[in-house]
C-alpha cells in the first residue's frame, strides 16, 4: 500500500507543479497501418568494434537493404537520432545515393521512427532508413573534467543546461538522477530490490540464448543481482544497462509496397510521442508525483487510441530498460498493471518471461545486449516474423516503448 505522501504537509497548491488543464483536444492521426518495417540490419555487437561509425552505418544499412530485398539506390529517406553516428549527408555519400527527398534527426529514445513513418505516409519518401551506429563502449568517455570544460566553454552538448541545480552538490550522471526517483518509488510503494531484480534476471536468461547479446553467456541469479556493486545507493551495477558498440538499421516503406518485398511485412499499427508538464530529462523532480512517468502515460493513451487496441491485446513488450527501476514504472504507465504494482508484477519473473502473461525484452534488452535503443524495434520485428531466439507463440502484436524518464515514444507493430 502507498505510504502517505508528505505532500499534504506542504502547500503544493501554490506550486507550479500542479497539473494544468491543457484544453486542446487529442490530435487526429491517420498513420494507422499505412507503413511497415521491411528490413532489419544488425552489425554484431562488441566491446570494441574497431571501425568508424560511418563504416558501421554503411554496413548496417546494406544489411537492412539486403534483408528487405530493396536496392540501396532506392533509399530516398534517412532518419536518425541526433547523437548517434554520422549525419545523412555522409551516409548518402558513402552509399552513393543520388538524392534524398527526406532526411531528419530526432532526439530521444527511438523517436526518429515518427519521422520515418510520417515521411513514408505523406509520400515525402518511398524507402526510409532509420540507422543507429553507436560505439559507446569504445568511444571516448565523457569524464568529469569534460563536464567542467563543457560548463566553462558553454558547450551544451552534455545536457548541462538546467542541471545547475544538481551538479554543484555532486549530483552528477544519469544513474544518480534516476536513483532519486527510484528511492521515492521504493518509499511510496514499498518496492524492494528483491522484486525488481527479477527483471535483469529474466533478461539475462533471454540474453544467454541470443548470440548478439554479448554480456551474459549464462543467466544471473537474483542473488547475483542483490550482490552486484552499489554504484549510487539505491542503484546497483545491475540496475544500469552496459555500454556497447553496435549498429542497427531498419527500412520503412508503405504497407502496399511492403507486400511485394522479401519478408512478411511488419505493419506499424501505431506510432506516438508523449510529453507532460514539468518535464526534465531524468530529473522531473518538481512535478506532483515523480514516480509516474506521465510522458509514457500520455504516449500510451495516444498509441492505443491510434491502433484501436488495449494493453490486453499486446503479446510482448519491448521496454526501455536502460535503467531497470523504470521498467515497473513503464508497466504501470502503459496500463499493463495498476499504479505501484509494477514491481510485484515482475517478482519471480514468471509473468515477464517468454511464455508468460507479458514477455518483456525477449532479446535480453539493453541490459543483456548493451544500450542501443533500436534493439527494441528489431526484436519486435523478429517476434512478428517468428525469428526471435526466444520466440513466443502468436506474436502478432508487439509494443515498443522508449524514452523512459524523458519525452517518450512508442510503437505498436503487428503481423
Amino acid at each position: 500500500m502507498a505510504k502517505k505522501s508528505i505532500k499534504d504537509k506542504t502547500n503544493r497548491a501554490k506550486s507550479g507543479a500542479k497539473s494544468r488543464k491543457t484544453g486542446h483536444s487529442m490530435a487526429k492521426n491517420s498513420i494507422k497501418n499505412k507503413t511497415a518495417i521491411v528490413g532489419i540490419g544488425v552489425v554484431n555487437f562488441s566491446k570494441n568494434i574497431g571501425r568508424s561509425e560511418w563504416y558501421t552505418a554503411s554496413q548496417c544499412i546494406k544489411l537492412a537493404a539486403d534483408d528487405a530485398g530493396v536496392n540501396i539506390y532506392d533509399i530516398d529517406g534517412m532518419v536518425k537520432n541526433i547523437d548517434d553516428g554520422p549525419d545523412p549527408s555522409y551516409v548518402q555519400k558513402g552509399l552513393g545515393i543520388d538524392n534524398l527527398t527526406y532526411h531528419s534527426e530526432s532526439h530521444w529514445g527511438t523517436s526518429a521512427m515518427m519521422n520515418a513513418v510520417q515521411a513514408i505516409a505523406s509520400g515525402a519518401a518511398n524507402y526510409c532508413v532509420y540507422y543507429q551506429p553507436a560505439h559507446r563502449a569504445s568511444g571516448p568517455e565523457k569524464s568529469i573534467s569534460d563536464y567542467r570544460v563543457a560548463r566553462e566553454t558553454r558547450d551544451d552538448s552534455l545536457d548541462l543546461i538546467r542541471y545547475d541545480f544538481f551538479s554543484p552538490f555532486g549530483l552528477i550522471g544519469q544513474t544518480g538522477y534516476v536513483g532519486m526517483t527510484y528511492q521515492r518509488y521504493m518509499y511510496e510503494f514499498g518496492v524492494k530490490p528483491e522484486q525488481i531484480g527479477w527483471i535483469p534476471v529474466v533478461e539475462s536468461e533471454s540474453a544467454a540464448r541470443n548470440p548478439n547479446a554479448i554480456f551474459f553467456d549464462k543467466p544471473i541469479t537474483i542473488k547475483d543481482y542483490l550482490n552486484s556493486r552499489m554504484v549510487v545507493n539505491p542503484m546497483r551495477e545491475y540496475d544500469v544497462a552496459p555500454k556497447v558498440d553496435g549498429a542497427i538499421a531498419i527500412i520503412i516503406t508503405t504497407t502496399e509496397r511492403a507486400r511485394d518485398l522479401k519478408h512478411k511485412p511488419v505493419i506499424i499499427s501505431s506510432c506516438a510521442f508523449g510529453m507532460a508538464p514539468e518535464g526534465q530529462f531524468h530529473t522531473s523532480y518538481t512535478r506532483d508525483s515523480i514516480t509516474e512517468l506521465p510522458e509514457m502515460k500520455n504516449m500510451a493513451r495516444e498509441l492505443f487510441r491510434i491502433a484501436g487496441v488495449s494493453p490486453k491485446d499486446i503479446k510482448a513488450a519491448m521496454l526501455d530498460d536502460t535503467f531497470i527501476p523504470y521498467v515497473p514504472m513503464q508497466l504501470e504507465a502503459l496500463g499493463f498493471c495498476g499504479r505501484g504494482e509494477g514491481a510485484a508484477f515482475c517478482e519471480g519473473g514468471d509473468r515477464i518471461r517468454p511464455g508468460g502473461e507479458l514477455p518483456i525484452n525477449t532479446d535480453g534488452g539493453s541490459f543483456g545486449q548493451g544500450k542501443l535503443d533500436m534493439t527494441r524495434i528489431v526484436e519486435a520485428v523478429r517476434q512478428i516474423r517468428g525469428t526471435s531466439t526466444n520466440q513466443i507463440d502468436n506474436a502478432d502484436m508487439i509494443l515498443v516503448a522508449s524514452g523512459a524518464g524523458g519525452p517518450a515514444d512508442g510503437l505498436i507493430l503487428r503481423g
Partner: protein, 143 residues
C-alpha cells in the same frame, strides 16, 4: 554532512544565465528565492521565462522562501567512479519539498546517513566555500 576531500578539485559551478541569475545572486546573499507569478500566486522551480498558467512575462517575481521543508527523496554517493571527486564519500543529495511547494536538491549538513529519510523536516543553511562560491545545504529542524 558534506565534506570536501580534495580542495584542489574545483566544485562544479552553476551555469548562470539570464533566466536564473537572480536565484544565484540571492544565494550569494544567503537567501533562497523562488520564482513566483504575482497574478496566479504560483511558484516555479527551475526558473523559466514565462508563467505557464497565465503566459505573462511581466508578473514574474522572486520571493524569498522560508527555506523550510521535508526530505522528499535522497540518494547516497558511495562509490568512487560515480561520485564527484571533490567530495568525501559517502555523501548524500536530498530532494527537499519546500513549504512553498517546489522541490530543490542540495547536500546535507551534520546529518548521519541513517537520519536521512523521506518526511524528515529540514531547513536551509548557507556556506561560503573555500573556492569563493556560496552554496546551500539542509540541516535537521524540529517538526
Amino acid at each position: 554532512m558534506v565534506e570536501y576531500a580534495d580542495k584542489r578539485i574545483p566544485i562544479m559551478r552553476p551555469y548562470i544565465d539570464v533566466d536564473n541569475q537572480e536565484y544565484w545572486d540571492a544565494v550569494k546573499q544567503h537567501k533562497l528565492v523562488i520564482q513566483h507569478c504575482k497574478k496566479c500566486d504560483k511558484y516555479f522551480q527551475p526558473p523559466r521565462p514565462m508563467c505557464p498558467y497565465c503566459h505573462s512575462q511581466d508578473t514574474l517575481e522572486w520571493k524569498e522562501s522560508s527555506g523550510k521543508g521535508y526530505i522528499y527523496a535522497y540518494i547516497m554517493f558511495t562509490a568512487d567512479k560515480m561520485a564527484y571527486p571533490a567530495f568525501k564519500l559517502p555523501y548524500a543529495v536530498v530532494l527537499v519539498e519546500l513549504e512553498e511547494g517546489v522541490r530543490i536538491t542540495a547536500n546535507t549538513h551534520e546529518m548521519k546517513p541513517e537520519e536521512i529519510e523521506p518526511g524528515v523536516p529540514v531547513e536551509i543553511m548557507f556556506e561560503d566555500l573555500h573556492d569563493g562560491q556560496t552554496l546551500y545545504r539542509f540541516k535537521k529542524r524540529g517538526a
